[in-house]
Symmetry: C4
Subunit: 242 residues, 4 copies
């Protein structure tokens, strides 16, 4: 049996799933007025699709635009988020990545500013075993900016991310990647889960994180249930009424 999320989706399915993903991430407080989720174009690996400038909860299929991986540029006349360079930089360096979430989740920012990487305390968050680097924009630019608004900054973020599933961005938020939209959304929601569990655990005493072996085993088993979480999230929060 092949799970739905492992079948290579058509472009039409990607468009529909991106709209659902925007709404699900908003419902789970991963994104707010900002934040975005993108997917590599299944018909053109040198292009990715994300929404134009619009709050995720309000994104409709007609708000989606294709952007070039090579330089992060949208079609002429199209308004696109300056932070498309986050996505373009990662798609350039990570051939395995098919979807990217960028967010300012309130639960993740404290870890970035305190210099504390997320680590897995529960099997649902096991993917964190593959790393959670913290990107420092000051290491990448002399300009006084917090935004990833150039191809160079996108490359710098991607270099810090390396092969990890998530990078925290000091003073800004986080960027999460996946081999599918299902996986990127899953990881974004459970990165938030890991942060909340860790904060509470620390107030009780010394916590025991998953071992590397435990985490790799658990990560394998959660991947097999992406159809279940996606069915829940899309049923409860994915509807577009606009």
């Amino acid at each position: 049996m092949t799970a739905a999320h492992t079948v290579r989706p058509t472009r039409d399915q990607v468009l529909k799933n991106l709209v659902i993903a925007n709404r699900v991430l908003a419902a789970y407080e991963v994104v707010d007025g900002w934040g975005h989720v993108s997917a590599r174009d299944p018909d053109d690996a040198d292009s990715f699709i994300m929404s134009a400038v619009r709050a995720p909860a309000l994104v409709r299929e007609r708000d989606l635009v294709a952007i070039r991986v090579g330089d992060g540029e949208p079609p002429a006349q199209i308004k696109a988020s300056v932070e498309r360079h986050i996505h373009a930089g990662i798609y350039r360096s990570r051939k395995d990545v098919t979807a990217v979430v960028h967010c300012h989740a309130e639960a993740l920012i404290p870890f970035g500013v305190a210099g504390v990487p997320l680590r897995p305390l529960a099997h649902t968050d096991a993917f964190l075993i593959d790393g959670c680097p913290i990107w420092e924009i000051r290491a990448a630019t002399y300009r006084d900016t917090m935004l990833v608004d150039t191809a160079e900054l996108g490359d710098s973020l991607a270099a810090t991310l390396a092969q990890a599933p998530i990078a925290l961005m000091r003073g800004h938020g986080a960027t999460i990647v996946g081999a599918s939209i299902h996986e990127a959304v899953y990881r974004a929601i459970y990165a938030r889960h890991a942060a909340l569990v860790d904060l509470a655990g620390r107030s009780l005493g010394t916590v025991r994180y998953l071992s590397t072996d435990e985490a790799r085993s658990a990560a394998d088993s959660t991947v097999k249930t992406f159809d279940r979480t996606w069915e829940l999230w899309s049923t409860q929060h994915g509807a577009t009424s606009l």
Copy 2:
């Protein structure tokens, strides 16, 4: 007068109550994309009923399947959760148990990973006086897994649970039992309550837990009100629209 929850239910009532229980537990954030609640089959004590692979908030009566207590196996051709062995193991060892909840509640995981058993601070949580052991899967298996996916692991969890109402599972979640669906759901919701109250209490100073005598008295009186809490929860969250 006999309270409804103390009358032995028919199989049809068990099926309906399992659907309600799934939705109530989701509404109270005891379960999320995973987690499950089962009940012993009133017509066959060697069998228990739980949902197939589906997020609890979406479970319908037609998703329920009967599984053998003896070996945890479902009928041929039926897809069942690998973690059915949690339920089977407990039904084998605890004749008094009629319902089991397994969950990854965000509020409970910190206690398991910090090695801090839940204890009752309020009379609503008095059932915790009968113990809250923490199960360590490493003590039971050499395999690098976090899942209770064999009959042996189910037996190990049941051995740690012993006569307690709840066992925390390090790095995973918790399993809660009851003499009825009403009781298992009650205990799952109030285990979460106990965890949140304890976290806040510790930040204020030294807390006073219920004494054993106080807790036993209070546990007796809360059992008498299961009809009231069930009426509330099933009215507010039990509806199936699918």
Copy 3:
């Protein structure tokens, strides 16, 4: 001008306001499956009105029953909460009290078990300046119970409450009183507010509580706005659909 809440209500208004109060307190998580709010009968000062055994969110006008202040007994054949003795005890000792809320609010229990009385950090919570004693049931009875299920225990709680607006009950919850239903509901909601603000304030450092003079002045001004908060709460949460 006379504010609506200061006009002596008719019995019919009291019944309607009690139903609204039940639903508002449930919406603000002051009460859950248990808890109750009562009012002195405007036509009979030796009687008070509260719901029979039913979760507050589900209470309807026909669930309300009159109970004698003198001995806490309901009419023959009527099922009433064992904890009616909380209310009866207070109505016996406090002629100024017209309404009583009893609750197990998750936000208040930590203060009772840690032995930390609530104090006002904000002018909305200024009524706390008149005291927040913590009642210890062990000081009142040799029985191993947590419930106020006798007239003697009701008198003991009332003696600890004395002239205060609220008493915390160790291991149990809290009881809040007022000169009107509006005031008792207000104080119950803002006792919870005070608890949450205090918990957060302590984690930042040393906090400055209102002085006695500041609090008395602020308490006088909040009383003048009970019509405003009641309009909000009853509009948003008071509807009965049952």
Copy 4:
């Protein structure tokens, strides 16, 4: 291209946006039964518009009244909040201010009573770099009051605010200003965000705040996105059904 929030609105637009702002601030728990948002009258710079005495979530366009900046007085016969003097004092001293929010947000009070000014940990909260003074009413009056109920107290608060975007008010709440309704609402919602992020960050360790240069750059970029956040908030929470 000119963003909508930078175009000088008509008086009719101001009235509509004030109603929306009231509901949005209530949905984000910035305001509760009290709190208010005002705007300078675009047709009369010596006058500002705010709701009469009514909970923000219930405010309708017909509840709005014009008040004189000079002395904080409403038209004859009109009932107005005593705290209109907060707004009048600020409009007198800050010609750049077009909108003012006053609130008792539960998330902000702990910082005021602990004497801890808010500082930006994330680029969304960068406006805080321009200061977050804490106003002490005791420094301004000999009366035992917590309310800003005279023109003199309004002037005192405005003097403490000086050129900052927000002032915390010890034992009371906060007042936030902006060059537009969009900006004042944005800052009020993200002051709350900054407070919650800071509380969590402190429990993890030493946090790194934005540098002055980072914050000024980030504040400039968030101003450019006020249309996006306003579209989200007004679509989700701005509807008037009353």
